[in-house]
């Protein structure tokens, strides 16, 4: 059943895929953080003609499957290579989640802070950049972290548009060496080893921020 030799041979292949998975997660999450913040800010402080359609579009993206979005982008958007496209689609999908997270963060900044800014007649830009956003983002660090871990575990979807990430590599190794058991078990172990300590760290951060 379990073939130690096959597992040993699969290890470097899976780890190489893990490298791709990690890079894709970091890049896509960077896209999601920036885009999510922009979405939240436009919905909160932008002009109505932009805020309303954006809210609708974000709702649509949020409640439709990432897999289908990847397929659609893959055949409809020409001229982008698979990894770039995958990172963008993943980033946009998660931006719609993160904009909600930012929104709760912005709502959690006490009213008195806004009033103090008005009293000091700080310019609008300064209010956001120096007063509201630093507090808002700090308040939502734990959920942001949770979404990063959740995105990390969704990167295997990129394999459907031929990105050679970990599950793609495990699948290829499994089919060429007829060793699915070994390769997929290794992939599962790597996911567990990477995401579990991260979520423990996030929980600790959450406990520290709680007061």
């Amino acid at each position: 059943m379990w073939d130690g030799e096959a597992a040993w041979a699969a290890l470097p292949v899976v780890l190489e895929g893990f490298g791709v998975t990690l890079v894709a997660t970091v890049l896509a999450f960077a896209v999601a953080m920036v885009l999510g913040l922009a979405l939240a800010l436009v919905q909160r402080a932008g002009p109505r003609w932009l805020a309303l359609p954006l809210r609708g579009a974000a709702g649509f993206v949020r409640s439709t499957p990432l897999l289908v979005q990847l397929f659609a982008a893959w055949v409809l958007v020409p001229g982008l290579d698979a990894p770039t496209l995958g990172v963008l689609v993943l980033g946009v999908h998660y931006a719609t989640y993160l904009s909600e997270v930012y929104r709760t963060g912005i709502d959690s900044v006490p009213r008195a802070q806004w009033e103090a800014c008005t009293a000091l007649s700080l310019p609008r830009r300064r209010v956001w950049r120096a007063v509201v956003l630093p507090q808002a983002v700090r308040n939502v660090l734990p959920p942001l972290g949770n979404y990063a871990v959740s995105m990390f575990k969704e990167t295997p979807l990129l394999s459907v548009i031929t990105v050679r990430e970990m599950v793609h590599e495990a699948n290829t190794f499994g089919s060429t060496h007829f060793a699915y058991l070994e390769s997929f078990t290794l992939a599962a172990a790597v996911f567990l080893l990477a995401s579990w300590p991260t979520s423990v760290l996030i929980r600790r951060l959450e406990a520290r921020l709680a007061h």
């Binding site: 499957p65 289908v68 659609a72 949770n146 969704e154 058991l181 599962a188 996911f191 567990l192 979520s199």
Partner: protein
């Protein structure tokens, strides 16, 4: 476009079949997930350490290893150990295990958010552990669970296109067939996204109704006064207790919008944006 429409009309029965498969997987996966969520969630609050520990390990395992790996493991690796499951069974099992683990955290958090005094009062009345759970703790916890469960259910629905990756002829598979038959890629995928959006909206409305029912049941049983106190004791500032009691009635008359937010804030583990605590 006209070609697409005629092809679409011809493909309608197959699309309906695909839709049925997707709905079936969603319902069965959600049922299994719910069962596991309750079992694991209640076990991880057990007074016995080994029981609690075992439940935690299972939960962390199924949350920590990606759903996709779980599904592929069941589909590709399990047959190598000698068990071959139907593709649909693989998918339902993977969805159930993964979302059950996430759901168990919702159950655990909601039960933990019910004030201790409620349990103590039930003990004082001489209720046994099962009766206590069934008549006192769970009805209150239910109202807190529905909103995070709604999020999980929609996540689960959105994970169902994975079925097509393990050869199940679901909606995504059928629409992909339509796409290759017509060559109208944009129209096909737009249709698929639209159908999923529709399903998400329907599920969302269904869960909102469920949440209203859970809360209405609660305030019918305990009366709005004690309902308000229950929340006031957790929502910070005791001075809000009285205001919330009257809000409760306003919300029941159909305002509805404010109440979920207030309820969600009561439990430390049930805040919006944190439903998918990983």
């Amino acid at each position: 476009m006209a070609d697409f429409l005629t092809e679409l009309r011809r493909a309608l029965p197959r699309l309906a079949e695909g839709l049925l498969v997707t709905v079936e997987a969603t319902v069965l996966g959600a049922a299994l997930a719910l069962l596991l969520a309750y079992t694991l969630g209640l076990l991880s609050r057990s007074a016995r350490r080994p029981v609690r520990g075992a439940a935690r390990v299972v939960v962390e395992f199924f949350r920590g290893t990606s759903l996709y790996v779980q599904l592929f493991w069941l589909f590709f690796a399990l047959p190598m150990v000698g068990f071959r499951l139907e593709p649909l069974a693989c998918a339902v099992l993977a969805l159930g295990l993964n979302f059950g683990a996430y759901g168990s955290e919702v159950v655990r958090g909601a039960v933990a958010a019910v004030p201790r005094a409620q349990t103590e009062a039930a003990v004082a009345l001489g209720m046994g552990p099962v009766l206590r759970l069934r008549r006192v703790v769970l009805p209150q916890a239910h109202a807190l669970m529905v909103a995070p469960f709604k999020n999980l259910l929609i996540q689960l629905l959105k994970a169902t296109p994975l079925l097509s990756l393990v050869t199940v002829p679901d909606l995504t598979f059928q629409i992909d067939q339509l796409r290759s038959a017509t060559g109208s890629t944009a129209a096909s995928y737009l249709l698929l996204l639209g159908l999923y959006f529709g399903m998400a909206v329907v599920l969302s409305l269904l869960m909102n109704a469920l949440e209203r029912a859970a809360k209405a049941r609660l305030s019918d049983q305990v009366g709005s006064g004690s309902g308000g106190r229950r929340r006031g004791s957790r929502g910070g500032g005791g001075s809000q207790g009285g205001a919330m009691a009257s809000d409760d009635n306003a919300a029941r008359r159909g305002a509805g919008r404010r109440e979920p937010d207030m309820i969600r804030k009561t439990g430390p583990e049930a805040r919006p944006g944190q439903e998918r605590t990983v």
